[in-house]
């Protein structure tokens, strides 16, 4: 396996590193924020981040510095930073490790971001199930506050920044930035219509930046080692730096792997993750979390960067790579993901709320050997009427498992339906809407 220098996982890979404040400082922690507060202006920091080419690691891949730059310059009232730690995309489990093993790395990144955008308050919106992560973060904040790194007049610089942990309560949609803000305001996590964007009308209607855990964790390293260093890693000019890829499914060694962007799926799956479980042939993989369309063995040499995966017809998304071996039933796999989306649809937009229910019903009918050939047309038609017709990107996400499996493995659907017809199991009366 080629050795790459880990950046975000580096500290935690050292023997005995427990992620305490003392551990983090021994590893050089909190030097970047000292430098930022003492020597750089907020505009300088934003400039460095823009130059580094850092793009959001939550899923959308929007350039971080550009996002910060959208905040109104002359606004005098409060501004907010929200750390999106609502890691809920099936296939993704990197933020959990970054939070539980090296919480101060995230906190330092947040301090840097707060300074750059002029925010005095920041919230870490962490998914409710991460109870351990929330406790670890709260303890880390307490330690950093006691040391004078969080709170009033940090390092005697005159800058005051406070950070709080806010636990979500089990809603996937709260990872969507505007739904996250609604939830943080104590409401149902329903996405807001954009524009206006959070940059001008965010938390409490104030200018707000929402950044993912991994994005923020990169900041101390960019400040310490320079924008040019970061921009030279990975697949420049558009996909710079490393990514923590989460590999799950039928591989020998599932887990998190931090590699430069631009290596191939073949290298990630066969070298880092040890190859296929039982050395069976690979049948399919999802390249970037449940929202990303499925890819096939033909795509193994696609590079793991934003553009290459998009060219292959999918997306790099949250970095969750799920691998399936030969023999996996793709209709069943699509149904499982569809059930997830059906369960998690927030209900705000009719196409998604009603459509996800219909899609699940039809998919269950096909898997339960009661499918009809016209179901395939109905599925496609429904998907087309959901994608792009909702307030947030959830609608696009929920159709991707069905559309991509229909594209690559349509015959499996056809075989299943034909077998049902041949066995004369087909029910001609309308199927009830209850499920």
């Amino acid at each position: 396996m080629p050795k790459y220098e880990p950046i975000l996982l580096k500290n935690m890979l050292q023997p005995g590193y427990a992620g305490t404040l003392a551990d983090y400082e021994r590893a050089g922690g909190y030097q970047a924020v000292r430098k930022v507060l003492g020597q750089l202006s907020p505009t300088d920091v934003t400039g460095i981040v823009m130059k580094s080419g850092l793009r959001g690691r939550g899923g959308a891949g929007f350039p971080t510095g550009v996002k910060w730059g959208f905040l109104p310059k002359d606004y005098q009232g409060p501004r907010y930073l929200c750390c999106n730690a609502d890691e809920s995309e099936p296939g993704t489990f990197k933020d959990r490790q970054l939070i539980e093993r090296d919480p101060h790395q995230l906190l330092e990144g947040m301090l840097i971001a707060c300074y750059a955008i002029g925010a005095a308050s920041a919230y870490i919106y962490i998914r409710g199930e991460f109870v351990l992560g929330a406790k670890i973060l709260e303890a880390a904040i307490k330690d950093a506050r006691a040391a004078g790194y969080i709170g009033k007049n940090i390092f005697g610089s005159g800058t005051s920044i406070d950070i709080w942990v806010h636990r979500g309560a089990g809603a996937y949609i709260c990872g969507e930035e505007t739904a996250l803000l609604e939830s943080l305001e104590g409401k149902r996590g329903l996405p807001r219509v954009k524009p206006p964007f959070p940059a001008t009308h965010g938390l409490y209607n104030k200018p707000t930046v929402v950044n993912n855990v991994e994005t923020l964790a990169n900041l101390p390293h960019i400040v310490n080692r320079g924008a040019e260093w970061f921009a030279s890693i990975g697949s420049p000019p558009k996909s710079t730096g490393t990514r923590v890829f989460c590999v799950s499914g039928h591989v020998k060694q599932s887990g998190n792997y931090e590699v430069p962007m631009g290596i191939t799926f073949r290298e990630l799956i066969y070298e880092h993750a040890g190859g296929m479980r039982g050395d069976k042939p690979l049948k399919a993989f999802i390249p970037g979390g449940a929202s990303a369309p499925f890819l096939t063995p033909e795509h193994l040499d696609v590079k793991l960067d934003f553009e290459s995966v998009a060219l292959a017809g999918s997306m790099l998304g949250s970095g969750g790579v799920t691998v399936m071996e030969e023999g996996t039933d793709m209709v069943w796999a699509a149904l499982r993901l569809m059930e997830f989306f059906y369960h998690e649809s927030c209900g705000k937009c009719s196409p998604c709320r009603e459509g996800s229910s219909w899609l699940v019903q039809i998919m269950r009918r096909i898997v339960n050997k009661r499918g009809r050939m016209e179901d395939l047309e109905t599925l496609t038609d429904l998907c087309k009427n959901i994608a792009g017709r909702t307030v947030c990107a959830f609608g696009d996400a929920e159709v991707s498992p069905i559309l991509s499996t229909l594209k690559h493995w349509r015959q499996e659907y056809v075989d299943m339906i034909q077998a049902a017809e041949a066995a004369n199991l087909i029910r001609l009366e309308p199927v009830g809407t209850k499920h």
Partner: protein, 176 residues
């Protein structure tokens, strides 16, 4: 009453936010910690604390799956059934639990010790099959591990097999 018992904690929670309503989820968690689930009385009290109407509290409480609106057993076993866990055998785990405890998903054992729920992704896809029991994650479940976990929970209320802080790959051991 939450206010009588937790006034200091409630004040601390309220101090984190410039707008009171933001404290709603933390206060609902407080209510759930107290009774095991969120009671109607607690929702009304919280509405009073935050100057909201009871329906405003109720509409939020009903949106989030981690807030129980009815009692659950002492140990809430939540098994992830999403695709990533399903690929590595979560359906089998659900079957084992059902057989061992004699309950179906959504049910509680007659002694009120265990409730079994099937849930969607818990962000432990690389270490599936997994389940969450109350606040703790249990990962890479096998039948043998599950037997030990259930026995431990019955005897001591917790189990050393719980996982975290999560790390993969495991760091090298000192001196190796």
């Amino acid at each position: 009453m939450l206010k009588e018992k937790y006034q200091a904690e409630i004040d601390e929670i309220l101090s984190r936010y410039p707008v009171k309503r933001s404290a709603l989820l933390p206060l609902l968690y407080l209510a759930q910690r107290e009774e095991g689930y969120v009671t109607e009385a607690a929702m009304q009290e919280i509405a009073g604390i935050l100057k909201l109407t009871p329906p405003q509290v109720y509409e939020t409480a009903t949106f989030y799956t981690m807030l129980n609106l009815k009692p659950v057993g002492r140990f809430h076993l939540q098994v992830c059934k999403s695709l990533m866990c399903a690929l590595v055998g979560s359906d089998t785990v659900i079957g084992w639990i059902g057989t061992k405890l004699g309950i179906k998903p959504g049910q509680t054992t007659p002694d009120k010790l265990f409730t079994l729920s099937i849930v969607e992704c818990l962000a432990a896809c690389g270490t599936g099959p997994m389940m969450q029991v109350n606040d703790d994650y249990y990962e890479r479940l096998t039948e043998e591990k599950l037997d030990r976990i259930l026995a431990d929970l019955r005897q001591t209320g917790t189990s050393s097999l719980k996982t975290g802080p999560f790390m993969w790959p495991e760091p090298a051991k000192p001196g190796v």
